[in-house]
Symmetry: D3
């Protein structure tokens, strides 16, 4: 078995930190770190819902994702300056939004919209999985705030969701790929799961070689273990 | 076991038709039909490669996807008129492109770019999986044309790729969801596989309820069987 | 007199086919073919009118036009990807919309909007004239559907409109230019007429040399004859 | 015969003024007035040609058109602020460009591009025909300047082009419609002709009612007479 | 003391002309000239206010700025064609809007919006200061028109505002820089003042070298004198 | 004399922190805090210069500015999602860029471009002045890195620049306005100065009332004192 460049065991995730109340204005705000990957997640509560939901007595949760231009090894053009969000950005923010909505009872939310902004301060692989993991905590905090303010009666959060990247690197299934692993992985898979271990999203992509059924199972097993650990982190921060 | 609205068995895909040489100008052109879903796939060969590949002696395969405004039940705004491609469009065309590249030896292609346009004439669920399945045939035809023209010596196509949607509907795993099933599925999963049964992409999304490990396995089994059948269709058309 | 490359007589149009009910979802849908030129025309009925017409008790008919990227000899960039519709596209869709409205009594339509999408599947000259000719049939079908549904009492279609391109090629007036003729024509003229032989639009452009009054008259005579034939095709299809 | 609101005879055009050297920087610059319609036309000479012409030893002439936001009765949104040029703007600037190129021998121009900007200071109907008429003078001046500078040897201008709007108003053919006539015309037709009386562009549109062959002939006769007068104005200004 | 290229004294501004009623449609319209710099300023009155002001019983004044493509020495790309307004344009139109609002009692205006368009016909330095100076007169005329029409009872104009550029050129403070001075100035400063000599905007920029406190004072003294003269011009034109 | 809401003296700036090496990838990276205002400034070095500078043997420094959507009290729409940068953003990033270039000898930089990204993590007034102050430090660090890498021989930084906002609040000149002061200030002025006390930019805006010459002088005196203090902070961080 090849050793990982990082010295980590195959099933070992990077040190995880979730710092609550990272900024002052948002109703929920955390800085989530998976090793050197740092993402600021803020949850903003607004009255009203998008047009397609009006008058249905339910709320909405959506997400936006962005990378600061120099969060990456070499500078990326600013999407605001280029005048549009790229395909990868759209794909990721749609994924985060779907993942968070899967954890919610939107009828209990009432006609409010919560927008969770996930902005990458520093990238070292796994920004989308860190974002989902942090966003869920920011969302939980915003919901607590809404309850304290009397805006909602029952907490709409049904479960916690967390996410991890797994992959095949040098023929071995590994968890929580950092950038150097990610860029040479044969397969890269992002898994979003609930606290109960059910799957919300599974997105596996053969980057360099197709993957077999057994490899898929090996990666999923790593994902389940990692998500369990991430949910523990989330619970500690939410409990405060 | 609930019967499917269509009367199909759980593992039964819709009638598949792949019509070659559907238009005159493209180097490869097929109309692919999965039941009422109809997608026109054209492969266009152009000299040169994108900037990031120049001088590396390899080629490129990319895809674009679009839906005609009234391919759907109610008319959608034309993306060209709105001034941008939506997130779903970008997500799908990136998926098609990655899937096709996974079937290719890009060094054998030399410094050519093949663009496969997948335009949905009529939609009834499964447009992205039909698109990938048809696009692979259009690509194969274009490569045959290049060989006949002496532009390439060895065929760069390493395998065939095909795709199918599977999902959990009324608690049952089913293959090749049509629109009415898709819109009420608990889980929707798109699987892209090679002719050998290895996985290129697995994208499972819990629409209404998280899915369990066993459900994932049941859906994957259906996908494998369906892809086998699709590859048979592809082979017959390519053999001509 | 030079023979036409196609072997057609100067006043001879290409074989015309109008296939009704080409797709399932639209209220009116035809595939129109002028030789190798193929355009899919779908008419979509929606409740309501644009802002500038609200509360005036009349309806609206508008058109959009697009070319599939590889409908042409060499691939064109997709307008949705470039982020805007080109000048030619806008010019043509405005022309189609005006032509259709000239055939309508918009007060009889009531506060509905009918959008006719004309998408070119394959181009070989004359796409805008084929589009107008097919769009009128799709519109007629959609109006029949509205009457059957009880949405309108009286049919708002006052007449049929059809269109043909005529031009000066090698000093000779010819009808229904195909691509190879179009690209070397001295003058290109598109004529939209009613079933009664009155003119809706006349757009003549000197491509290579100015045209004289006599040449204009010669081209108009060809147009009148061709439109008569096209209207016969339309009538047969509408009669069903 | 109904009298025109303006008191003009049916074939009488508005007072025409062409003021040369209206601004300092452009190589050619005129303010053209057709009654209250005022358009500033500037011709700018630049080295080089667009990509599609490179290395072919010929030049290019193109035009851009714009209306100042309050050139019209009620203020229009500024196109630069809306982020795109509308369909009418594109249609008109393409028309101006084609008209000017029809007057040019582009090989004699050499690898230069001349851009003629036509900006409407005040609109009262006929802005595009005034623009073409003025643009041709600005172009002539720019070509004279190029000859004086030794940039070209032979003058590439083969003829003069001028344009007029004609139409059917209250059942009568009239020339040079002002805004109040234009807005109630049954048919509106713009005719671009050479000094020799040949046609460059004919664009007739039935606004309220189709037009007959005889009406077309009546309108063309008015156009010919008006263009003759306009060419006289152009000649006087160019002769200086 | 170096003589200015223009022969003007350090505190001498260029000949100023303000031509009222320059166009017919706008409620206020002036052509303002500072030497060769010519800007058309039109004020348009519209019922209603922007969303953020609705229901507050006050009005709004805003400005837009543009340069005709060949108002400058070499042709600039048209902003409408590029699809966006540049940073300089936005900066200037925000400046003009703020300056005009500083002269207004917006409550007296009632729920109307006045948009002042400043379009540069010819540029020779100082276009933004000429624009502000002319825009204030166009605004005054529009307000007079509103009073005459009975739309407002009391004139909302509290004072006149005018603007001048000053700068350090060759170590000397000078007023009203023309293009050749502007392009070599060490410091460029735009000052907007009221008729009473108070400051609305001061924007000083070190182009080539930082400026000292004394230089700032010297420039401000020139600005005060110049604005006094400009206000005299404004008063004469408004008095009519 | 009114006391400030914050309890600060009129000339007292908020606690300033400049944290160096805040992120890993950028050649220079600081988090600058003026009280609750927090801006991340990263300097990125790239080979080459913009087109307009090519072949002139000098370098370029430019800046971009952005606010995270929930850096503010209520959430702002993300500029990347809206498809363009607003006028305020453009104005600020142009200001930062000019200020930094004023501190540089661009010929000593050689043909490199340094882009300084200033992203607001949390806003409480004074984001642009904090950004300039932090950006200068990030720039200094990037230049040190270039020297260490042997990319430049002599340090191109001629001086340090720092910036502060000053204003008239309740009739009193105060330094370093926080959000609650800023929103009720009569006048708001941003001053950029060199370490030597010379002025780079002075931008004073009368928000609620014009300002007098004496008020201008009072504000400038506060700015000079504050910039002195900021430069001390910069020096300590750069010295490391």
């Amino acid at each position: 078995m090849t050793e990982r460049a990082s010295g980590r065991a195959a099933d070992e995730i990077r040190p995880v930190t979730i710092t609550p109340n990272y900024t002052r204005h948002a109703e929920g705000s955390v800085l989530v770190e998976f090793g050197h990957t740092k993402v600021l997640c803020t949850a903003s509560v607004e009255k009203g819902v998008p047009r397609f939901l009006r008058g249905q007595g339910q709320g909405w949760v959506t997400a936006e994702y962005g990378m600061l231009p120099r969060s990456t090894h070499s500078r990326m053009a600013r999407e605001a300056a280029r005048g549009k969000q790229g395909g990868r950005t759209m794909e990721i923010q749609r994924l985060i939004g779907r993942s968070l909505r899967a954890a919610m009872d939107l009828e209990k939310l009432g006609e409010y919209t919560i927008t969770v902004d996930c902005d990458v301060i520093q990238a070292d692989g796994g920004t989308r999985t860190a974002a989902i993991t942090g966003a869920c905590v920011a969302l939980a905090h915003a919901l607590n705030w809404m309850q304290a303010e009397g805006m909602i009666v029952h907490n709409p959060l049904k479960t916690l969701v967390a996410a991890i990247s797994v992959g095949m690197v040098d023929g071995q299934a590994v968890a929580d790929l950092e950038y150097t692993e990610d860029s040479k992985a044969e397969t890269d898979m992002n898994v979003v799961m609930t606290a109960e271990g059910n799957m919300i999203e599974v997105q596996g992509t053969a980057e360099a070689a197709p993957f077999s059924h057994d490899e898929l199972l090996a990666m999923l097993a790593l994902a389940r273990k990692a998500v369990n650990e991430l949910v523990e982190h989330q619970r500690r921060v939410i409990a405060g």
